[in-house]
Symmetry: C2
Subunit: 402 residues, 2 copies
Amino acid sequence: MPSSKVIRNVRPLGAAAVDVLVSDGKIAALLPAGSADPGLPTLVDGQGQLLLPAFVESHTHFDKSLWNTPWRPNSAGPTRNHRISNEHTVLKDFKVPMAERAGPLIEHCITRGSLYFRSHLDTQTIWGIQHVEAMLALREKYQHLIDLQLVAFPQGGMLIAPGTVELMQQALDLGVDVVGGIDPAGIDRDPIRHLTTIFELATRYQRGIDIHLHDLGELGRWEIERICDMTEEMGLQGQVLISHGYSLGAFPPVELFALADRLAELNISVMTCAPPAVTVPPVAMLRSRGVNVCSGSDGIRDAWSPMGNGDMLERAMLIALRFGWSKDEDLAMAFDVVTQGGARALNIADYGLEVGNAANLLLLPAENLAEAVVNRPLQRTVISRGQVVARDGVFCGPLIGR
Amino acid sequence: MPSSKVIRNVRPLGAAAVDVLVSDGKIAALLPAGSADPGLPTLVDGQGQLLLPAFVESHTHFDKSLWNTPWRPNSAGPTRNHRISNEHTVLKDFKVPMAERAGPLIEHCITRGSLYFRSHLDTQTIWGIQHVEAMLALREKYQHLIDLQLVAFPQGGMLIAPGTVELMQQALDLGVDVVGGIDPAGIDRDPIRHLTTIFELATRYQRGIDIHLHDLGELGRWEIERICDMTEEMGLQGQVLISHGYSLGAFPPVELFALADRLAELNISVMTCAPPAVTVPPVAMLRSRGVNVCSGSDGIRDAWSPMGNGDMLERAMLIALRFGWSKDEDLAMAFDVVTQGGARALNIADYGLEVGNAANLLLLPAENLAEAVVNRPLQRTVISRGQVVARDGVFCGPLIGR
């Protein structure tokens, strides 16, 4: 293997130390530490650090972030509809173009160890096609470093905003990957027609669905049941992700076993950021019934809230804190949610530390996964496709055409 | 002022830049930036950073931390009583003495910007007086750097563990500051006798009370009412702090207005760490009715949970997240809880950025309080009594007798 490099002396997920041979951007071999050919070039001397797969940021909104701009006090009113209209006001005449906000944010997320992303992309008539085009251009700029899935997301409603469906089709035609949706009842006020529309779009374009579902309590649960019905009817098993799904936290977990089993059977994933101020899906119960759970940062420093920093290791800590977890196996479960859970939800084929997978890796100093989640060290070495792209919080990935 | 030094060009709480004259460990003057005598020695060139009062860590358990020792998987069972007995098992034969765990933890907390602390101190017959003596020795070691209040805390119950009251008296005789208590109903199973005992101790020793109250729902609320009764009867207004008070989060805030008004009238403070997995006191409502609220880290890397890092700026973020706050004024409220709220609860006289107060200060790069809470930068310069004791996470305070 003439083009191989070696990551020396790292502990995969906390196991015994190995040397990792990396070739053509992939993991070529895992050898006992110290046994790799000393003549091969060293990619990183790991010094016994943890070796982890790069994080999967399964839910964010790069297009609306105010990252890399001066602090802006939040000006939104109290309801979801206030926040939507406030966002229009804030972004309409915003001086800094999206690329200068989202680009640095992507680089920041890379420094924290994320290399796989799903970003919702506001597909609203108020923006026309410009937001979509700007985000597609940004994806092209970073495509040699990250995997970025985009969702045509009708943030302002779909049926209530005529022209939105056509714009979503245009976005899908241009290369946006996933069909989005939002609160078929709470925002769009016609749940069956909303769901029928997005499922038909997904079928026609052969794409997945990622639906924002904030609707609470019985209403949200009823909508999840309808999403199950349509997933089954349309044969979209394994292609549907429910984002937020707050209603799943509104009932004693035992009352949700049947619904969880149905989600598992249809391979519908659930994304939760585990926010503490609202009911959230019971992650451990869902996983115990076979439902795949992933996580994301949601908004990062945007007009909805200034919170968020794109650190999926901090997100794992927040998930653990949300459920009062303190055991090593539970902290490792939180870690799994932000890694393998994301890879399963986003259908990433070559993910993980096995030979043959993409060498999208993260090294950090910790004894094991539990300590990594608790300590969240910022000394992180990030490797994308076999190349070091960030060290200790500093982005050093090569940029093409800059 | 021959012994004066200057902190140049800092913005108090985000206001216009000033130079701060520090003399004899106190804030001697605040002058417009650039106007302090250039001949005076510079303590720190602030370069426009925020100037903040040092944090008040109002609730932690230094004595039980496993800080500075190798990772230890949590071995506790599911209930509070399991955790108490598990802690005995873990600490009984622990190889590293308390001073080598709590000492480095105190130094770590200083690097994060805390200089005022209230630490509960397990006062249990299983430990005899050794834990008390070890913690008092540690306080002496750091007394030139920090203000540390200690609470005689009957972690394992008081009435149910004969000999505990006598041990608490012994601790108070030796210089422990505050009378502790714990779940008069849930743990000690005789609420009135428990409360009577600790209120009598407080009266006899002329000390304050700090009671752990995890009891939930109606039970906890009823106990808070009894604490109000006794505070009034014994004339201990301004001397009582209720820690956790989870039950205050079990009711719609409007149902608690009368109780909140009573807490305010009796000047009883409430401490919350704002954990997401349990109901918590409604901070904004309590403050709006005049109740003082403070916060703390609770356990830091101990046998109860490996979570916690003693960072009160992160705690402010977690408080904001707990309640879904995103407005600048709400983020500033979270900041106030971990600073002025603590100073009021702990009756710290010379606290804050006004002239004449102790020069216990923190500098960090942020535009304003809101951004500080969201970003939690680790570049922090910590000044204790006019002396730099930590920079960028590295403790550099002088240690006496080391």
